[in-house]
């Protein structure tokens, strides 16, 4: 049983980031792999999502975020499948020295490609920081909002491999999703 966890999904879903959990759950379902979901027990989860929260949300739940900082640091050290998005990316980058130090830049709102090592992804960014994408094994921290796992098959596969999913996506789903993913990419990047 794969355990998927998400931190306060009601509040940390500014730009549809919780879609990433839906993507993983559906990918597992299509592959016939059972999973459970929790928003309270993060310690033993195979995957943990902390989405983007508004300014009000970040102020209100700062102590809760501080409380999971050591857990996030441990997941980073072990490269465990984790996805930090938007304000969560900024929050933990400012507290964990192993994550990139962010510098302020003029705001840019656009679809863009970002890479870490030989892994390249695309998504929508709308902020004032200089690092859009960090990847250490299956630990991801990014400013690219929304369903990044839905749009980037390579990143999705990194997460799935990391949580021990080896079965292939059935052909019926592959053939449905393939052209659509190509269309999403072309529209976003104009290629």
């Amino acid at each position: 049983m794969i355990r998927l966890a998400t931190f306060m999904p009601t509040y940390f879903n500014n730009n549809g980031d919780q879609g990433n959990i839906e993507v993983l759950a559906k990918q597992l379902e299509w592959r016939g792999v059972q999973c459970s979901m929790t928003s309270t027990d993060f310690a033993d989860s195979d995957f943990l999502l902390v989405g983007d929260g508004s300014r009000a949300v970040m102020r209100e739940f700062e102590s809760e975020l501080v409380a999971i900082t050591e857990l996030i640091a441990e997941r980073l050290r072990t490269g465990k499948a984790t996805l930090l998005v938007g304000s969560a990316h900024e929050f933990f980058c400012s507290r964990l020295p192993e994550l990139p130090e962010l510098k302020k830049t003029p705001r840019v709102s656009e679809h863009r490609e970002a890479s870490a090592g030989d892994v390249s992804v695309f998504g929508y960014r709308n902020n004032e920081i200089d690092v859009d994408f960090f990847l250490e094994r299956a630990f991801i921290s990014t400013s690219l909002f929304g369903p990044i796992l839905a749009k980037n098959e390579n990143l999705l596969n990194i997460v799935l491999n990391s949580i021990g999913v080896t079965s292939e996506l059935p052909a019926v789903h592959q053939s449905r999703l393939g052209p659509v993913l190509q269309g999403v990419r072309s529209k976003a990047l104009g290629s």
Partner: protein, 402 residues
């Protein structure tokens, strides 16, 4: 003299654009005119005898404006307004070109403008509205506004520079910055559920009186309580957010004039829907239902309004969505299939639908081709859900634009 030149040039540009694009060309002529005569808008508004009223907020601007204008006109007042969704600065200038005289002056008692939050905040200092109607703050258009708190800042500025404000007192994003002596409150009766999901706010919830209160809704009817009277309306727009738009209009009209309440009831009950706000239009011999979906709230509401057996069904996500990520906050799972997914963001919408196991038959980016494919399909309940850009393109192509 400069105004005459700006109006003349702007009208020529508008005329040329409309030769090539029927129903199009609302913003660019306004840009041209405003660059020639920056005071054109403020001069036009000052020529109105009873002042400027503005309607702003995340959602509900068009419906509230349309209803308020209808109520004032029903009482015999001349009202100048901007066409629905032409609510940015250039659109306001374009409205002057369209409806003003050769100098850009308008013959009106009231000017009632739908104001985009961002553009309105930039204009308010020079235009100083007599009344501002503030509808709500949603977590919406984050690709543009970044954070709901920045929308609150803009609405607060509109409030600060207005003489009086009609305010949704159910939304604490608004009530946290207003003063009881300067507002007329409207809202839903506390017993009404579900309530709209305003932008998350953990601050205090100041309490204000609802001078106009929606007391009952549903079953194609609404009841609205005003001081000393209970008004009843027959309307398709009976959802909570739609009832609030009506309450806002009624609160505004009661602040501006001494209304004849019988006339208010009659006018609202006979009001046609704003285009595509759940409207049925005859297209190529078919009665097609159009539902405009501007944000997650209206998308969710529109989905609740249609049957899961709706057929044929087209959903369009147009180029007005910079970042389609918010489509992932909308639950489409009640649908089994969508015949046509259209618009510039069709692939993003299709991806969202597929992850909810909704079957997608065709994906067509171009609005005209999508409309043709949709209209070829047979079925008992042809229905289109679309965002604003897709609505404009489809409407223009189908000859529904004026």
């Amino acid at each position: 003299m400069i105004s005459i030149l700006a109006v003349a040039v702007g009208r020529i540009v508008r005329f040329i654009i409309r030769i090539f694009r029927r129903g199009g060309g609302s913003a660019f002529p306004g840009t041209v005119a405003s660059s020639i005569a920056p005071n054109l808008l403020s001069d036009a508004i000052r020529s109105a005898r009873k002042g400027l009223v503005v309607v702003s907020g995340s959602s509900g601007k068009s419906s509230t404006t349309q209803t308020l204008v209808a109520l004032l006109r029903a009482h015999g007042y001349k009202v100048f307004t901007n066409p629905s969704t032409a609510n940015i600065k250039q659109g306001l200038y374009a409205a002057i070109l369209q409806f003003g005289d050769f100098r850009g002056h308008i013959d009106a008692d009231f000017v009632v403008l739908e104001w985009d939050e961002g553009h309105g905040a930039a204009l308010v200092e020079s235009l100083r509205p007599r009344l501002a109607v503030l509808t709500n703050v949603y977590s919406d258009q984050l690709d543009r506004f970044i954070d709901p708190e920045l929308v609150v800042e803009k609405l607060k500025k509109i409030y600060d520079f207005s003489d009086h404000a009609v305010v949704n007192v159910d939304d604490k994003n608004l009530t946290q910055f207003v003063d009881s002596v300067k507002i007329t409150g409207f809202g839903l009766s506390p017993s009404i559920e579900p309530r709209p999901s305003y932008a998350i706010n953990f601050g205090l919830e100041p309490k204000f009186e609802r001078s106009v209160q929606v007391s009952k809704l549903g079953d194609r009817s609404l009841q609205v309580k005003v001081p000393g009277r209970l008004l009843s309306f027959e309307t398709k727009a009976d959802a909570p957010h739609q009832a609030l738009n009506l309450a806002a209009s009624i609160a505004a009209v009661s602040k501006l004039i001494d209304p004849d309440w019988d006339l208010v009831e009659k006018t609202v009950s006979n009001l046609p829907p704003v285009f595509a706000r759940d409207e049925i239009a005859s297209v190529r011999g078919k009665d097609v239902r159009f539902l405009l979906c501007l944000n997650p709230t209206s998308f969710t509401h529109s989905l609740s309004e249609i049957s899961d057996q709706t057929s044929p069904l087209m959903i369009m996500a147009g180029g007005d969505i910079s970042d389609p990520s918010w489509l992932w906050t909308v639950d489409f799972s009640k649908l089994e299939h969508v015949d046509v997914v259209g618009g510039k963001n069709a692939y993003d919408l299709a991806l969202r639908l597929m992850y909810q196991d909704v079957q997608v038959d065709k994906i067509i980016l171009e609005a005209d081709k999508a409309a043709d494919a949709f209209l070829e399909l047979s079925g008992p309940s042809p229905t289109v859900l679309f965002t604003a850009d897709a609505m404009r393109r489809t409407r223009r192509y189908l000859g529904l634009a004026k």
